[in-house]
Amino acid sequence: MSAIVTARNLSKRYKNATALDNVNFEIQSGRIVGLIGPNGAGKTTALKAILGLTSFDGELSVLGYDPRTQRDKLMEQVCFIADVAVLPRWIRVREAIDFVAHVHPRFDRAKCEGFLKRTKLTPDQRVRQMSKGMIVQLHLALVMAIDARLLVLDEPTLGLDILYRKQFYQSLLEDYFDENKTIIVTTHQVEEIEHILTDLMFIRDGKIVLDTDMEAVGDRFAEVMVNADKAAAARALQPLDERQVFGKSIFLFDGADRATLEALGEIRRPSVSDLFVATMKGTYA
């Protein structure tokens, strides 16, 4: 496996805040990485650094390029959807396809037109006449027709209804993703992408607080439903989090011994959102 993105002591300071604080991470080829954190944690800054959209301190290599100085070359192999509705409002579907087809060496026009056939978009339609969901359909069709090695998605489904959101990730998985491609995605709708992620990265206050693959999540973290009589014993094992449901307590443990936990109650694999909430406790306090 080769690293697509390698960050060493990556830092970014704005005038009155530190967005990234000596961050180190590696992203391997063929993975779908969820970069998850509360608002203002530095997610977007990290993505911007990877895409060469902002300056930073430290070392960062993306596909072997330095995004600060080799951005033009890098962008032939990297694609991103920064946000919904960044397509220019005046452009028509046909113009957008024409333009990308002529400036992007790795764009497959037939593929793009195939994707668009499944939507209600017509060639003469302008972006300003589309709903948010339709804009994303167009953007996704353009991006998926590009044979890029790295795709970066920053809140790609924000403000979309659930039909568009489901369709978005389904298309990505079925029609785009393969072992030669890597996807980095940030979103607040963790539950919706949980099952497609292969890797998980939590970021908080400019630091990576969790960097693991999804299989390891099940091994390392455990959620145990404990009856009231055993709650004190569970608390003694220093759980990450505790919450009450129907008179029982649910504890979240990091790296606790399985056998000990089984004695306390029923063990489950925690959901990413529960893990997230537990990890980010006190962020806004």
Binding site: D72, M75, C79, A82, V86, L87, E95, V100, V103
Partner: protein
């Protein structure tokens, strides 16, 4: 690789044209059409009023008689009058084009940041220099070429309109048209485009640098900075240090930064031009307009323009609105 780069550039310019079709194409065409219609209405009104008052100007062929009596000097005056009619129909189109280019440059980089579409353009393998230079080419080549062609078409129609009207008064249309120089006029206008490009660069560069740099209100910054500098220079007599008047600063810095993208600005700025050929249109000939190539004013402007364009490229690359 080279053809791909050239192809990319063509599509970048085409993209600008798509977005600004209204300013680049329709504005000159509509201006020309409105000008011609107004002229036509004027001519019809004059004819109607004339007829009602029993004035039959030249109806019995005196007009033709007058022309046949003219000597070569008078003939050239008639030709010049017709040429002026042609230039005048272009003038309005070029004024409109000046405004179009001015506001195009101001918005060229600012607007894509404001509506965040810059993030889409930056997701494609297009360098910032290619992109900004395609915008410069749109302002200094695409806009003037279209305006010039529209102007020439309007000018020729205007000329025909005048000639046909006169023919109703017994003047031989063809003889009249031979006195005008539509080809020379057209040639002068087309030939002027490269000179326009060079002269407009400092203005285009300044406006685009503001467009790339300003977080808000690029228009205000673009106007306020040079004007405020001009006022300071005037109040404190700073130019006195260089043995120059404050007027020099206004004319060579402020005006060059703001108004050089208006077609014809170079004609006004060229002192020699105004003094030669006062009483004919020869000053519009390329042999006269192009002696500006020998002036420091032009080339210093080109240098500043190129530097400002580099500034615009740098800001487009690194401006981070958070």
């Amino acid at each position: 690789m080279n053809t791909l780069a050239g192809n990319k550039f063509y599509w970048l310019v085409k993209r600008e044209f798509w977005e600004h079709r209204g300013g680049f194409l329709w504005a000159p065409l509509i201006t020309g059409a409105v000008f011609l219609v107004l002229n036509l209405m004027g001519i019809i009104t004059a004819e109607v009023v004339g007829a009602r008052h029993g004035i039959h100007f030249g109806a019995s062929g005196e007009m033709q008689h007058v022309i046949s009596q003219m000597d070569a000097g008078d003939m050239s005056q008639v030709g010049m009058a017709l040429d002026i009619a042609m230039y005048s129909s272009m003038a309005l189109i070029f004024v409109v084009m000046g405004f179009v280019v001015f506001f195009y440059c101001l918005g060229a980089i600012y607007d894509e940041r404001r509506d965040r579409s810059i993030l889409f353009w930056k997701s494609l393998p297009l360098s910032d220099s290619e992109t900004v230079i395609s915008k410069v080419a749109s302002a200094t080549l695409v806009a003037p070429v279209i305006a010039t062609l529209a102007g020439i078409a309007a000018g020729i129609l205007q000329l025909l309109m005048v000639a046909v009207t006169l023919s109703f008064h017994g003047v031989n249309v063809w003889q009249l048209l031979l006195l005008a120089h539509p080809l020379r006029v057209a040639f002068n206008m087309i030939g002027h485009i490269p000179l326009y490009l060079l002269w407009a660069l400092p203005s285009v560069g300044w406006l685009m640098a503001c467009s790339a740099w300003a977080r808000t209100k690029p228009f205000l910054w673009a106007i306020a900075l040079p004007v405020a500098t001009g006022l300071l220079v005037t109040w404190f007599g700073i130019m006195g240090l260089f043995n120059l008047s404050a007027g020099w600063f206004w004319q060579n810095v402020v005006a060059r930064a703001l108004f050089s993208a208006f077609p014809g600005a170079s004609l006004i700025a060229d002192d020699d031009l105004v003094h030669t050929g006062k009483n004919n249109l020869d000053f519009m000939n390329l042999s006269n307009t192009y002696h500006l190539l020998g002036s420091a004013n032009l080339w210093i402007g080109v240098l500043f323009g190129a530097a400002l364009i580099a500034v615009a490229i740098w800001f487009r690359r690194w401006r981070d609105d958070g």
